[in-house]
């Protein structure tokens, strides 16, 4: 919402400075977005007379001008504008002037060997229009030496404020003035409009035609003004409209635009000569269209409200008029419309057609119904003053609603909600200044809401009115109060896990990324997602169309972007939400890591102690298990099973589970087909752990740990080399060995895996080290031999292994 300072002062008697007004606007909730003070910005630019303009001796396109700036001797200026010539008046700026359109400060210069002491300016250089074809040409009577902005009527500062959607009343200058007056900035001018008596009935009737459905217009007022002389509107009106960025068209149209901004009363004018028969307010019919005043043709449907005559649709109700019945300089009889519209319908129609007009903006936020007729009278008076003519009486279809909301307002609410404790008199004075009626006695006042405030419907709204006018700075900062106990832990187990997972993965050298929650459909499909239910109806781009089923694709694509930028070896992780369905419980927290190239846990690339190997399934497995350890998960209870979902390499991936129903996560190298589908290059190895899936530890009554069982007796180790089929899992061998004597065998690990001709085709040797932990006596050779035999027998039974000879 823009307006000029002088325009505001027509509604507000005030001595306040521009700065004080700006501060007050922001303070009461009408946030100042900018104040453009051209008089200040353009102060050095003055009207000047070009005494002579000679060809530059060294440049075809330049002229050497002698310029009378009104300060004495003419000044020499080199000018390149094609229209620079002797005898013209233009705008001059001396050295030292800041040129806003060029963002430079002018200095005395020498151009192709000729000194230039200033500049003749184009409108673009002053940022008053886009015109940079030549220097500004001023009429001969422009007084030399006068500041240009003052002469051109640009001296009036333009104030731009942001209006929140609840304050349609401040979409007119009068409403803004009312708030400022209430805030103590001055006195609000009388806004009442004396009725304009008409001569004779309006010859055009208005009919609502909505059948059995509710009317989309509560009220529609119309009057004819006969015998007007349309043409350019007066200078004062044009200056106001131009200052706020509107283009003057003709007096009749300018009057409607002026009142839209002056009083938040959008109006429409029809050229009566172009209207055939009566006006009908109705829903549009399928197939109807309208060539609107913006020169575009809009296809209409039955949800839209229009104003039609015998020729068809003439105007899109509350949004934009039609070209066919618009007013031109030839208009003699004008029909003036002042109507009310259903806000929701206006919003839907405007959105559907993509029209953002000043009228739509106001009607969808709410127009003062009580000003429907006064607004029409005010327009009539302006038309009579500017264009002459004789008005008819007003014809009104529908009824003007009279919202007379009365609220019981316990004044204590102000203190209860804000902490400020104003007097009842203060409260009453503020509400009255804002146009509310106040009756009754404290502690409960009866407050009548003015017709222009659709946002007020409860006592909390009245508290806001009082507080914003008093000033929120009057609210005392009041400590919230802490518990008088030591702070308790506040995070849920899953929140603790999420945080810890990030630190644990970072500690393994992985770098945390935050990637989009949505991926391309093809990418989602490659990772088990892509369901219709999880596809956005209005994605911002095809690359961000589907909710991610996994964090892996985001990291894979990120790794490739880094590779494309020269970082081939990256290790990334993300801990965040994945979507398996639309319900809240289908949203899971995944902790996912990805290593690319040679980015292993101990570093990447070449090194004098040995180059890092390409990442593999075992890097991913190590990351996954290390993460689970860090989270305190029961890792010893988890099973590692070969294979993982289809986006992993089938022979180089695994699943971590607590039985087939409870999958904790997966790890592995990515499937070559997946890499191809995402157009990325490997090697890539990653894992994904679903944090929600990890069982919670059982709650225990104390924090006591079981006593340490540190045996005094030395453990004994024995090595075994088993020859098994190549496909036999080492995990099986270890499991069998451990089960041979659960009391005695403390650990078993693989220290060598060998395949070769010596072992035989399709066979491998797996060497394991078994640790025996004696409990009460040192083991005898016979006991060790006995347990060794049991180990060999168990492993043989489980896997068909034979001891390597």
């Amino acid at each position: 919402m823009k307006f000029t300072l002088s325009w505001l002062k027509e509604h507000l008697e005030t001595e306040a400075s521009l700065e004080a007004i700006g501060d007050a606007l922001t303070r009461v909730g009408l946030e100042v977005e900018g104040i453009e003070d051209k008089a200040k910005a353009l102060a050095p630019f003055t009207v000047a007379y070009v005494v002579s303009a000679e060809q530059h001796p060294n440049a075809d396109r330049l002229r050497v001008c002698m310029v009378d700036t009104g300060t004495g001797e003419p000044v020499q200026v080199v000018c390149g504008a094609p229209n620079a010539r002797a005898g013209m008046k233009s705008v001059f700026s001396p050295p030292g002037t800041y040129i806003p359109g060029k963002d430079i400060t002018l200095a005395v210069g020498t151009i192709r060997g000729v000194e230039s002491r200033g500049m003749l300016c184009s409108a673009a250089e002053l940022e008053i229009s886009e015109d940079h074809d030549g220097i500004i040409e001023l009429p001969a009577d422009a007084p030399v030496g006068t500041p240009y902005a003052e002469w051109a009527g640009l001296a009036d500062p333009v104030i731009d404020i942001a209006i929140t959607p609840n304050r349609p009343d401040c979409l007119g200058v009068h409403g803004v003035a009312r708030d400022l007056a209430a805030a103590g900035l001055g006195r609000l001018a009388d806004g009442d409009v004396a009725p304009v008596a008409g001569e004779g009935p309006c010859p055009v009737a208005v009919r609502f035609d909505f059948g059995d459905e509710p009317a989309l217009s509560p009220a529609f007022a119309l009057r004819l003004v006969r015998g007007v002389r349309n043409g350019p509107s007066p200078d004062w009106m044009q200056a106001k409209l131009r200052a706020i960025g509107l283009r003057p068209i003709n007096a009749l149209v300018d009057i409607t635009n002026y009142l839209t901004y002056d009083r938040n009363r959008p109006l429409h004018v029809f050229d009566a000569a172009k209207v055939a028969g009566d006006l009908v307010v109705r829903r549009a019919r399928a197939g109807e269209s309208l060539l609107a005043l913006d020169g575009k043709t809009y296809a209409l449907d039955e949800k839209m409200c229009v104003i039609a005559d015998d020729n068809g649709v003439e105007s899109l109700a509350g949004i934009m008029g039609g070209e066919a019945s618009g007013c031109s300089d030839e208009t003699v009889d004008v029909l003036v419309e002042s109507a009310l519209w259903e806000p929701l319908n206006i919003a839907q129609t405007g959105r559907k057609l993509g029209i953002n007009s000043d009228a739509r903006y106001r009607f969808e936020r709410g127009i003062d119904p009580a000003f429907t007729i006064p607004g029409l009278d005010l327009a009539t008076r302006l038309i009579m003053e500017i264009c002459g003519g004789v008005p008819s009486e007003i014809v009104l279809a529908g009824t003007i609603p009279e919202p007379r909301l009365q609220l019981a307002f316990p004044v204590g609410e102000v203190t209860r909600l804000s902490g400020i404790d104003p007097s009842v008199e203060e409260i009453g004075a503020i509400l009255t200044a804002l146009g509310f009626t106040v009756a009754g006695e404290a502690p409960v006042l009866t407050v009548g809401v003015p017709s222009w405030r659709p946002d007020i419907d409860g006592k909390a709204d009245l508290v806001e009115e009082v507080v914003r006018i008093l000033g929120i700075d009057r609210v005392p900062s009041t400590p919230l109060g802490k518990s008088d106990d030591v702070s308790r832990p506040v995070l849920t187990p899953l929140q603790v896990r999420t945080r810890r997972a990030k630190r644990a993965l970072a500690a393994r050298g992985l770098v945390e990324a935050v990637t989009w929650s949505f991926v391309a459909k093809g990418v989602a499909e490659a990772f088990g997602g892509g369901a219709e239910a999880l596809a956005l109806a209005n994605p911002i781009s095809p690359e961000m169309s589907d909710m991610r089923p996994s964090l892996l694709p985001g990291l894979v694509l990120a790794a490739q972007r880094n590779a494309d930028r020269g970082s081939a070896d990256v290790a990334l992780f993300e801990v965040g939400q994945i979507f398996r369905g639309i319900r809240p419980e289908d949203q899971k927290i995944a902790a996912t890591g990805l290593r690319r190239g040679t980015a292993g846990v101990s570093g990447s690339g070449r090194h004098w102690q040995g180059a890092a190997a390409p990442v593999s399934v075992f890097d991913a497995k190590a990351d996954a298990l290390s993460l689970l350890e860090a989270l305190g998960a029961p890792v010893d209870k988890f099973q590692i099973v070969a294979g993982a979902p289809s986006w992993f390499h089938p022979g180089r991936s695994g699943t971590i589970q607590l039985g087939p129903q409870t999958v904790i996560g997966h790890f592995g190298e990515l499937h070559p087909a997946t890499l191809e589908a995402l157009d990325v290059e490997g090697p890539l190895a990653g894992f994904e752990i679903i944090l929600d899936q990890i069982p919670l530890p059982r709650a225990r009554p104390t924090k006591t740990r079981p006593p340490l069982d540190a045996q005094a007796l030395q453990p004994v180790t024995r090595d075994f080399a088993f020859v098994v089929d190549r496909t036999t899992e080492a995990g099986k061998i270890l499991k069998a060995a451990l089960s041979a004597d659960k009391a005695l065998i403390a650990a078993a690990s693989v220290f060598d895996v060998f395949e070769g001709a010596a072992i035989g085709e399709g066979r491998k040797s797996v060497a394991i080290e078994v640790t025996l932990r004696p409990t009460d006596h040192t083991l005898t050779d016979a006991e060790i031999d006995a347990v060794s035999a049991k180990i060999v027998a168990q492993v043989a039974k489980a896997t068909g292994a034979v001891l390597r000879g």
Binding site: V490, L491, A506, V514, L536, N562
Partner: protein
């Protein structure tokens, strides 16, 4: 006796000439071994007269002691020389670079770090961390929060929509973290103090907007909290978060459908290059929106707005991270550029705590 002197001189010469411990041992055996030159003399004492023995005894024994001592001394020297030689041979080039450890290269994203910082501050004041789904219903995102159907405020949210659920429920990506207010009030009886950090989505992308961003919601519901408490809380939070002694704040009346009165909060600051200094300068920087929870919202949660009251606020996490740590561009947050992450990210053990300082 002259021959003893000559012998001692010979032996001493041999000791001095022993180049290593083996040679020294040979000298020892030649002198003090069973058949050694000194041992032979000692053996000769038995055949001497008592008078001869009286002088020869001490002389030969003295010789033996001196030789023993000289050998020990020489052995110590040779051992030290040997060790020195070994150590010299073992020397390596310590300027050779070592591999960086995982702790050096791992990083925490600024968004995670800042969420941890925010949580540390609010947890100290008794706030817990609430959560809600990213895929929300139209009801929780708008209707329950007092957004009238078709109201312009609803349109201002640039909502991403999903196909409706089987039961016809309209689904969308939450445009703010405020739906967590209602979910929390339905789950938990007052008094309530929560924050709800999380991802939010709007169909908007330009220099300063990304279609996904992070917000933190705050909610206090009890029987007495008012704007004054809200003001104090926000001031206290900003001081703690930005780690400054003083923050100057400006609350401006504004509008949100789910709060009444509603306010936006600016903080006074000065921009120096990419640095933002708080509490000085003439710039006001908007950092959050807040207000007293609207009576309709309290009512929707099944509570009586005449009995319960409170306030809510919402703040951009990415935005305050940028203000505190000076990242110039929001879009880089979600690009996973390893250079950006290594530069603006935090080390794995940089744990923000109130006892140790948020960003020490």
């Amino acid at each position: 006796m002259a021959d003893l002197d000559a012998l001692e001189s010979d032996i001493r010469q041999a000791i001095a000439g022993a180049a290593d411990e083996a040679a020294l041992e040979a000298v020892r055996i030649a002198a003090l071994g069973k058949k050694g030159s000194v041992s032979e003399r000692l053996k000769g004492l038995g055949a001497m007269s008592p008078e001869e023995r009286k002088t020869a005894g001490p002389a030969i024994n003295g010789l033996r002691d001196r030789v023993t001592e000289a050998i020990a001394a020489r052995r110590a020297v040779l051992k030290a020389e040997g060790l020195a030689a070994r150590l010299k041979a073992e020397a390596v080039d310590v300027t050779l670079p070592v591999r960086a450890s995982a702790l050096d290269s791992g990083r925490i994203h600024p968004v995670s770090q800042v969420i941890d910082e925010i949580t540390a501050i609010f947890a100290d004041l008794g706030f817990s961390v609430a959560e809600g789904p990213d895929i929300e219903t139209d009801y929780y995102n708008f209707t329950a929060l007092n957004f009238p159907v078709g109201h312009p405020a609803r349109e201002m949210h640039d909502t991403f929509f999903l196909p409706p659920a089987a039961d016809g429920e309209k689904l969308l990506l939450r445009t703010h973290t405020s739906p967590v207010q209602m979910r929390t009030m339905q789950r938990q009886a007052p008094p309530i103090r929560i924050i709800a950090p999380g991802r939010t989505y709007r169909n908007d992308s330009d220099q300063t907007h990304t279609p996904m961003f992070h917000q933190v919601e705050g909610l206090v519901i009890d029987r007495s909290s008012h704007i004054g408490h809200l003001k104090w809380l926000l001031e206290a939070f900003c001081r703690a978060f930005f780690e400054v002694e003083k923050v100057e704040m400006r609350l401006r009346p504004s509008f949100f459908p789910f709060t009444e009165p509603s306010m936006e909060v600016d903080i006074r600051c000065k921009r120096v290059g990419n640095e933002v200094r708080f509490g000085e300068g003439d710039d006001w920087l908007e950092i959050l929106g807040c207000g007293m929870v609207h009576p309709n919202v309290i009512r929707h949660a099944g509570l009586d707005p005449d009995e319960y009251q409170g306030f809510a606020f919402g703040m951009g996490i990415d935005r305050i991270a940028m203000l505190k740590y000076g990242m110039p561009d929001l879009r880089a947050f979600f690009d996973a550029d390893i250079r950006w992450l290594a530069h603006y990210g935090f080390r794995p053990l940089d744990l923000p705590t109130l006892v140790g300082g948020l960003s020490s």
